[in-house]
């Protein structure tokens, strides 16, 4: 029993190490020094209050999008559109933050956060309703909605809600009362994110609502037989998932950037999914996973300027880590460990029709 448990802990760790190894290989292939890259990583992500603060800042939306994807997956739903929901939350929180006046400090910020969560929940809930009533697979609907969201937010930030005299589409700065402050130089938003992740863990693991959610995810038919409304759980899980992602966006706008700017990156930012899978769909494990990836992303500039390494190497490393985490048999093969009866592969989704 303990061998299995230690394997459950060690395998993700080894996956990360192997991912780093592959990253090192790529860096060498580019003619650069992996040792310098590692040094740049350290100084960019951990060395000093600024760096560590950056890491926490980057980790914050990751904790939340990771939790968002986890909530969906536990209910048998693949919310691949968390990034879009995050953007939606970011915009509307920023709007509330600059437009709505007259509220005292903490209340304004809290309300703005709630608005952000709400506008992340709405598109996700829509996808949930489409799935529950029309059988539309959420992978497709959330991805389509992502593009729609990006278009709408670009428009809003570029025309009606545009900051006057801004050179690119962005909203005006939020009011002081809506800001989420740093405490001791470290972003409070991160604590909020951690709190949210722990609440999600408690919900899923300890409550009857969580039991319903996981039952629907494990066996829809048995859930129906047990009197659980699959449709309600589907919509609810998607809404919660979207809320968490929207909250992540809201914290970005209110605690980090101070406004919303449309930087349509094109990619859909699959980081939330990577986190969810690295954490093997456990909300508590999403926190260290998010810290890792947050650190890697925080070291972006350092990698680029100190070690002259293209920061996209991180994307490749993440893909490798994801591959290894999703197929532990590969790690075992590399490390020559014995397998349990079933390989321990994550089987999350069951096709279009389920």
């Amino acid at each position: 029993m303990s061998r299995l448990r230690s394997q459950a802990f060690l395998l993700p760790v080894f996956s990360v190490l192997l991912g780093f190894a592959v990253g090192a290989v790529l860096i060498v292939a580019e003619g650069k020094s992996p040792v310098r890259a590692l040094g740049a990583f350290w100084s960019g992500a951990f060395d000093g209050r600024d760096a560590f603060g950056r890491t926490l800042e980057k980790a914050t939306p990751l904790v939340l999008t990771g939790s968002a994807v986890i909530v969906g997956l536990r209910a048998g739903l693949f919310n691949i559109g968390a990034q879009g929901q995050l953007i939606s939350g970011a915009l509307f929180a920023a709007y509330f933050g600059y437009r709505v006046g007259g509220l005292p400090g903490p209340l304004h910020a809290a309300a703005a956060l709630a608005v952000g969560g709400l506008f992340g929940a709405l598109p996700a809930a829509l996808a949930g309703v489409l799935k529950a009533t029309r059988g539309v697979h959420e992978v497709i609907s959330t991805i389509m909605l992502n593009t729609v969201i990006v278009s709408i937010t670009e428009y809003l930030a570029g025309t009606p809600w545009k900051a006057p005299r801004a050179a690119f589409p962005r909203t005006p700065e939020i009011q002081e009362s809506a800001r989420i402050p740093r405490v001791g130089g470290l972003p409070t938003g991160f604590l909020l994110a951690v709190l949210a992740a722990l609440l999600v863990w408690f919900l899923i693991d300890r409550t009857t609502t969580g039991f319903r959610l996981v039952t629907v995810g494990s066996n829809r038919h048995a859930a129906q037989y047990a009197g659980i409304s699959v449709g309600v759980v589907t919509v609810g899980a998607m809404a919660l998932s979207g809320f968490l992602a929207g909250l992540g966006g809201a914290i970005e706008s209110l605690g980090v950037v101070g406004h919303f700017e449309s930087n349509s990156s094109g990619t859909l930012g699959f980081d939330g999914i990577t986190i969810a899978l690295l954490a093997r769909v456990s909300p508590r494990a999403a926190i260290p996973a998010a810290l890792l990836i947050g650190a890697l992303r925080a070291a972006d500039t350092a990698l680029q300027f100190q070690a002259k390494v293209a920061p996209e190497v991180v994307d490749v490393m993440l893909a490798i880590i994801l591959l290894l985490v999703a197929a532990p048999m590969l790690v075992r093969a590399v490390l020559r460990l014995k397998a349990e009866r079933d390989g321990g592969e994550l089987q999350l989704t069951s096709g279009w029709g389920s």
Partner: protein, 353 residues
């Protein structure tokens, strides 16, 4: 073992609700052809009527539709072959992106033809990787597809260098005689190679899927792999083969994007078209001609919207125009999707008992 679950007349087998008449069995020769001929005739009439009314614009919009549809159709064909074999591929986006990249790279260093070959091979290599993940390693197929997409995005951005240009250009092929026909001549018979090839590939795929042994076995493997296994069809081999070759289609879509419809590569140039292709696949009920129709419809909508905006008939922000296909996909899926019937075994790894 439990006793068998029966499928009696009037009650469904284990595969759930019935789709439409379309998918029950191979289309019988006379009525299917007649139906299709009628549809084609109706469309042709509408097109020519519009052409008579405003030749220039009709040609522009229809031409746009065909160009818009081409990479989507190719991506959807990739997904179709895979899903008909039982493997869900959401990594099409990654395959397209990676192929656009390698195609562009080879085209800028060696030549266009080399670029096309490189792109197709890239698509196939990623297809083989998907097969490895899904069939041998039995990784959840949605995760496998995600991995492919993330890796492709990461690797292409990592190795991207600005300022390259391709050597040479894609020629425009004109079919003698046929290309003289008004409207249709320009639209269908005067095209660069990949656009031409796409139309032929759709026809070929339809024939292959519904009229050959390979097609029958493929469909069996996607609906009920153990039935195929027990009559001696090699499920694993067929899935590997199909998904790899299907990757070539996605590869073609990639090189279309970087070499034919434009002559450039940028980060994330695929812009979600791989996912749009998946939606078209479902809308088209995993049938080549219907998928083609769906893609053309989307191209048409997008083209019309663009044209109307250009003529300043419609006064909407550009963002709304570009998001139109995506919003429409959702609407169409909401209306149609609930009633479609995917290949029954798609998404599930096959275990020999």
């Amino acid at each position: 073992m439990d006793a068998p679950v029966p499928g009696r007349a009037g009650t469904p087998g284990p595969n759930g609700p019935q789709g439409t008449q379309f998918d029950r069995r191979s289309p019988a020769l006379p009525s299917g052809l007649v139906r299709s001929a009628l549809v084609v005739a109706a469309l042709a009439t509408a097109a020519y009527a519009a052409y008579a009314w405003d030749g220039l614009r009709t040609q522009a919009v229809l031409g746009f539709a065909i160009r818009f549809a081409t990479p989507l159709v190719l991506g959807a064909m990739c997904g179709l072959i895979g899903e008909r074999s039982g493997i869900i591929n959401i990594g099409i986006e990654g395959q397209i992106l990676a192929s656009a990249f390698t195609g562009f790279l080879l085209a800028s260093t060696v030549g266009i033809a080399a670029g096309v070959v490189a792109g197709v091979l890239t698509g196939m290599a990623l297809g083989a990787f998907l097969a490895l993940c899904a069939v041998t390693w039995r990784i959840d197929q949605i995760i496998a597809g995600t991995i492919i997409t993330i890796s492709a995005a990461g690797l292409t951005s990592f190795f991207y260098r600005q300022g390259r240009t391709i050597k040479g250009r894609m020629p425009t092929i004109e079919i003698p005689g046929l290309s003289e026909i008004p409207l249709v001549g320009r639209l269908l018979f005067t095209n660069p190679p990949i656009t031409m090839a796409t139309m032929l590939l759709v026809v070929a795929l339809h024939v292959l899927l519904f009229r050959t042994r390979w097609g029958l076995r493929t469909r069996a493997v996607g609906e009920h792999p153990s039935a195929a296994d027990t009559v001696g069809v090699n499920v694993t081999l067929l899935r590997y083969l199909n998904v790899t070759v299907a990757g070539g289609f996605a590869g073609l879509a990639g090189v279309f994007i970087s070499l034919e419809s434009s002559s450039t590569f940028e980060r994330n140039i695929s812009a979600g078209r791989g996912f749009l292709a998946l939606a078209l696949l479902i809308t088209g009920r995993w049938r080549p001609f219907l998928v083609w129709g769906a893609a053309l419809f989307f191209g048409l909508t997008s083209g019309l919207a663009n044209q109307l905006q250009f003529d300043q008939v419609l006064d909407v922000p550009t963002q709304f125009v570009s998001m139109l296909p995506y919003a429409m996909t959702i609407v169409v899926l909401a209306v149609f999707a609930g009633r479609v019937r995917p290949p029954a075994a798609a998404g599930q790894p096959y275990t020999k008992e």
